[in-house]
Symmetry: C2
Subunit: 346 residues, 2 copies
């Protein structure tokens, strides 16, 4: 029988390494061993992208993300687009339509005002597209050599509709796993402009706001079990988090996972696995079997879900573990990544 144990390098690690920000096992350890003991509580969950709260009789989702992507502008988007869509999508994964955003800039002394203005314009345009309002902000400046042009934090709040309860703990064997489209696109788009890599075919980031797509899915049934946007750590990290938190196994049909040719090509050249490459405009859903066909149809009818596909299912076997059935009929374990293959992709 296969057994999988989480690597635990933090205990031997005296200093922060890039992988602590990668959304994989190192990030999880930092949360479990440092942040949760310091200020964890019933509300602070490592298993959802947004917190679900009650305040003044309203059922709110609340989420935060900092953005340190390099470069600031890349094919298909910019740090301004990411700063909106990243937080809007975290809220959407709890079923909430983002209503309000905060926006905190940490600027590096010497960055051009024009660069800041271009980022702000992109952020504003993305907010209008997503239908969310930026209502509060903050700006700090740090000395040259203590930043990297522009860092942004956005936090967001939105209402969770009645009857919606999206958590990995709700996943049960038999649930159908659906992705909303091609994976690996954002990560490869960033790679294509970093480190001087070029892959022939231009790959543009899939960065997009998913609130409307989620709304279309919830209109089919509020009883989706869990949604996740597979950003840092890619689809592999998202599926592993869900498997671990739900205590079910996950089986993925490798051939069913939509990987566009330029992404597959770039990954082959670089020795990367598309399952681990970051996405910024995709989601993965665990859907009760009886609703799967209707949810898939609703996704395909939406521009951001046109490439939606069933890629696997939740199973009783190998609880907590993600296994891929390969095209040749074999199986392989899809591990939780330790860190991020490419740092600072969001």
């Amino acid at each position: 029988m296969l057994s999988w144990t989480c690597p635990a390098p933090l205990r031997d690690q005296q200093r922060v390494v890039m992988g602590h920000g990668g959304g994989g096992a190192l990030s999880a350890e930092l949360i479990e061993q440092v942040f949760a003991p310091a200020y964890g509580g019933p509300g602070l969950s490592a298993t959802t992208d947004a917190a679900a709260l009650e305040l003044g009789g309203a059922r709110l989702a609340f989420s935060t993300d900092s953005f340190v992507v390099r470069p600031l502008f890349f094919p298909g988007g910019s740090i301004g687009d990411l700063a909106v869509n990243g937080t809007v999508n975290d809220l959407a994964m709890s079923g909430a339509r983002a209503a309000y955003l905060s926006c905190g800039f940490i600027l590096e002394e010497g960055v051009g005002i024009e660069t800041v203005a271009r980022v702000a314009d992109a952020l504003g345009a993305a907010a209008r597209t997503a239908g969310v309002r930026v209502v509060t902000g903050d700006t700090k400046v740090v000395e040259a050599g203590h930043g990297d042009g522009v860092y942004i934090n956005t936090s967001g709040i939105g209402l969770i509709p009645d009857g919606v309860d999206l958590r990995p703990e709700r996943v049960v064997p038999g649930d159908v796993v659906i992705v909303s489209g091609d994976i690996g696109v954002h990560g490869v788009a960033i790679m294509s402009v970093r480190e001087g890599l070029e892959f022939g075919t231009a790959v543009e980031s899939d960065c997009a706001a998913l609130g409307d797509l989620v709304g279309a899915m919830l209109a089919v049934t509020p009883d989706l079990h869990v949604l996740r946007d597979p950003t840092r750590g890619g689809l592999a990290a998202a599926l592993n988090e869900i498997a671990a938190a739900s205590g079910t196994g996950v089986v993925v049909q490798e051939r069913a996972v939509p990987v566009p040719a330029p992404v597959a090509g770039a990954c082959a050249v670089l020795g990367l696995d598309p399952m681990y490459v970051a996405n910024e405009g995709k989601l993965v859903a665990f859907v009760p079997r009886e609703h799967a066909d209707a949810v898939l149809a609703a996704m395909r009818a939406h521009p951001l879900g046109a490439g939606a596909a069933v890629i696997g299912e939740a199973v009783e076997a190998h609880p907590g573990m993600v296994v891929a059935r390969t095209a040749l009929g074999g199986t392989r374990v899809v591990d939780m990544p330790l860190g991020e293959q490419l740092p600072r992709i969001c």
Copy 2:
């Protein structure tokens, strides 16, 4: 007649300078000329510390702050304390008791895990003291040389009580101006450990959460006109923002402003004006004259308001301008600062 015009260096400024993060005129210009055109709207206000929103029938305050203080630990507190109290206080200035916080870390590769843990512990302790729960978080890591150990963003939400409407626009001539205690303490505490300055008497930061004090004030009357915590830019910036937004003049009796001897001494040595030095556990209130005595008494009965004092009033004369009556009977204009005298104090 005196006339005051806001200096406008941004139009000649091609690059971000430290003063753009100082909370003074340069910060205001960045907001007015770059951020507001990009994503400003009815909700985004530069005249309040927190946004007041309606969501799901609840009246919410929502605020964000990034913290880049140097050093991370200083007499009387740390970046962890500031990260909680800064956002809790921004919410308190709208009358809201902070309910939930988000917490986003930007860590620099190579910073000690133990340092991160000490910051997290301080943040957790401050949250427990303030009665607020950290419910959602994020961690990013940037390469060595692109950060400064630990940067933190916190955002917070809280409920605004019925009948409370704190905005500078509500200030009217005759309002009494009250500060909750000694000013200039936080800024001098930071200076005392930066750049190797020592002032004989140790000055500890006044960093504290003001939600409870504000609760005591609102229990006297919900009809306070405006509250502000005079952080970056000090009391001078806070009073100027209120004067500009309200269109009234403000007169301050210089002798009535509580400045402790070590702060006065440090400022004299350094050529600084205590009115411009940052505070982190103080507030300034504009109170209808008929309630001023009762509000002052309630403040003095609270540990964080024991040193509260009436320092001036709103007047019809010189609208938008802050004037100090000096101890010698003269008057001087208290200008909006351009930037911050000491960068990165929060």
